[in-house]
Each structure stands twice: as C-alpha cells, then as structure tokens.
C-alpha cells in the first residue's frame, strides 16, 4: 500500500519539525509516506466562494496523482488537509464546480470526480495503523503528562466535509494522547480559532484569542498543547511565553513517545 504524502509549503520551511517527525513516526509505524512529485501550494485557505475555480486546480492535480498511484493522499498540515479534503468533497458533490474543473483539466487529458481518499495524518494513525498499534509501539510513554489537544478551526470544519470526527467534541487527538501514555486534557476552547492570518495585519485579535485559549487550557490542567497547524503553532507560541504552557507539534510529541526523537 502506497501512502502518498502532500507536505505543503510550510512543512518544507518553517515547520520542518512537523514534517520530519511525522515521516519518521510513520515509518516506524509501518506506513511510510511517499511524497508526491511536483506538488504545488494548496493555497493556504479554501475559498468560501462558489466561483473561484483556478486556485483550486493545484489541489486537483495532487488528487489526480494520488488517485493514479494507490488512491490515498495523506496530509499533515491542517490547512493543506482542509483545502485538499474540501476540494475533493466539492468535486464529487458540486456539479457546477466539477464541470468547470474538468473543463480546465481536460486540456491535459485528465478527468477527476473525487475518487481519491484524503486522509489526515491523525486519520492514518486511527483508521489504518490503529491507536492500539500505536500504543504497542510506544517506547517512552508520556505518563503523567497533562496535554491538551488544540484543533483550531481548519482540522474539523466544516464537519460535513471533513467527516473526521465530531467537530464540536472531537476525540481523535485525545485518543492519540491516551495511546502514547499522556493524560489528555479536555477544554472547550480547543476548537475555537487562534486568530489565524489576521496576525499579519493586526495582532490584537490573535493575541486576545490565544490568551483565551491558553487560559482555558491551563484552567483545565494542561501543561502542554499540541497542534497540527503551523499557523496555530506560530500564534500559540507567540503568546504562550510566561504562561507555562508548552506548545508543540503533535508529531514532535509522538516522535518522543515512539523513541524516534530524544525527549
């Protein structure tokens, strides 16, 4: 079984930790990731409008490649995952969008109707590897560590299209945390936005948001937050100083538990 992998731009640059440990852990767990050739940027955010077609084409090309090479496409970055999965859903669901996209790609002799299965890295662990198998592979269990999962907005929403977990009360990252021996901390703000890209223009709102999230996580007992999104990671980390809450990528923590990375 081939697991095609779409790393995305940030994982090649600023979020290399997320990428490196993600690949290493996948290898250890017996699901090595194969980076697809010549991928292009996903666009960062999925357009909420009906009439933007061209910017979604790069995703479609990645999806076509994955379809023709095993049928599965794994992503790790929350944003890439969101864009690829929504594109894949819409092309199967929205006739008008599908028609326009297919008109574009017909010139390459291609046709696409959403056949690829897009998986987030977490889904790969839960549905392919299985959290029980992850548990067995743990070498350094994070026993006693109180860790909160931070989902943010992109990983689960819109719930109908992401179809990954209950978007209002998710378990997938908590279950992973339990599997690696940590104590997951549930806090309500875990699926509320960190302030996102607004940070470039005006950092007041992201600051307010992050402080709210951290306060909630801390009140519920979290010592650390893990995330799969480089943007969330950036925003969280920026304002986490002095709160005593550590911010890490989920693969970073996983790598520590699996003994891939020295803790």
């Amino acid at each position: 079984m081939v697991y095609n992998y779409f790393p995305g731009c940030t994982l090649k640059e600023k979020a290399q930790d997320l990428d490196t440990w993600g690949r290493r852990c996948a290898e250890v767990l017996g699901v090595p990731l194969t980076e697809i050739p010549e991928w292009q940027c996903c666009g960062g955010v999925y357009p909420l409008s009906k009439d933007e077609i061209a910017i979604r084409l790069s995703s479609v090309r990645a999806l076509i490649y994955a379809r023709d090479n095993g049928g599965t496409l794994v992503t790790l970055c929350s944003a890439c995952h969101n864009v690829l999965k929504q594109t894949n859903f819409d092309i199967a669901d929205d006739e008008n969008f599908s028609l326009k996209v297919n008109n574009y790609i017909a010139s390459d002799g291609q046709e696409y109707h959403g056949e690829t299965k897009v998986l987030h890295y977490l889904e790969l662990l839960r549905d392919v590897v299985g959290f029980d198998a992850v548990k067995k592979a743990v070498k350094n269990p994070l026993t006693g560590r109180k860790i909160g999962a931070y989902y943010g907005c992109l990983l689960l929403r819109p719930g109908r299209k992401m179809a990954m977990d209950n978007p209002e009360n998710p378990r997938i990252m908590e279950d992973l945390l339990s599997a690696i021996g940590a104590t997951p901390v549930i806090y309500a703000q875990r699926n509320e936005c960190c302030g996102g890209y607004l940070t470039l223009e005006d950092s007041d709102l992201p600051e307010k948001r992050v402080k709210r999230i951290l306060a909630n996580a801390k009140a519920q007992g979290a010592e650390m937050l893990i995330t799969a999104c480089p943007l969330c990671f950036y925003n969280l980390k920026k304002y986490a100083e002095g709160t005593g809450v550590e911010i890490r990528y989920l693969t970073d923590v996983l790598a520590e538990a699996l003994g891939v990375k020295e803790g």
Binding site: G8, P158, L205
Partner: protein, 130 residues
C-alpha cells in the same frame, strides 16, 4: 476611502452560493464569532444587509477584513445560511474591482517576523488580494 462602487445582492448571492432568505435570525453566528469585537457589522447583520441590498455599506466596512474564515458560523448555523460565505463574497466583490486589493506586496516586508510560517503569508494573500 469610502467608495460609491457597489454590486447587487444577486452578484453576492452568485459568488457565495448562499440564500440569505433561509435565515431565521437566531443570532447563533454572532454569538459564536471570535472576531465579533473587531467588526463594525456583525455576521447576522451581513445576512440581513445583503438581503436588503445594503451592500455598499458592507463593502466600505473594515469588517470584511476581520472575518477569520474559521467557519464556526458555518458549522453552527442551523439554517445553512453560512454567514462567512457572504462576508467572503462581499470582500471578493471589493477586491475584484480595480485597485481593490487590501494587501499590496510592498506592505509585506515591514510586517514580517522571522518565525512566521509560509502558510500565514499565503493565506493572507489569498484573502486580501485578487
């Protein structure tokens, strides 16, 4: 900076694919919005104002750049009105006109910080320019 340029509700509906008439004015979007305090017009007002054709006011408002596209209102809207889609549509209507870009490349370097992920720049660029 106020401009008289405006588009019709029909254009907004075509861009967004949203039917604001479905709205039952419950206010769940505004209740859930993390950017509420930064907005002059709030998500439920976007719905009402698009329906009543007051799009010019929305186009001149800073509110359209304050939506985080976090999709919380989309997730929680009980009537599938999806206010974030209307906000996006109004913003696109502004950005698609001549000189409508909210972010120009020259402004970027001064705002850069060393740890900023590429994703941030790409997203902001997608949201704020044509």
């Amino acid at each position: 900076m106020a401009s008289n340029y405006t588009v019709t509700p029909e254009e907004i509906l075509a861009i967004s694919g949203v039917n604001p008439r479905r709205c039952m004015k419950c206010g769940r979007c505004t209740a859930t919005c993390p950017a509420f305090a930064e907005m002059e017009y709030h998500p439920h007002q976007f719905v009402a104002m698009v329906e009543s054709g007051r799009i010019g006011e929305l186009m001149n408002s800073r509110s359209i750049y304050r939506c985080l596209s976090c999709m919380a209102c989309i997730e929680r809207c009980p009537r599938q009105v999806d206010p974030a889609r209307l906000i996006e549509a109004v913003r696109l209507a502004v950005e698609r006109k001549q000189g409508g870009n909210h972010l120009i490349p020259d402004q970027v370097p001064e705002r850069l910080e060393p740890d900023m992920p590429q994703q941030l720049l790409v997203s902001a660029y997608r949201k704020y320019t044509k």
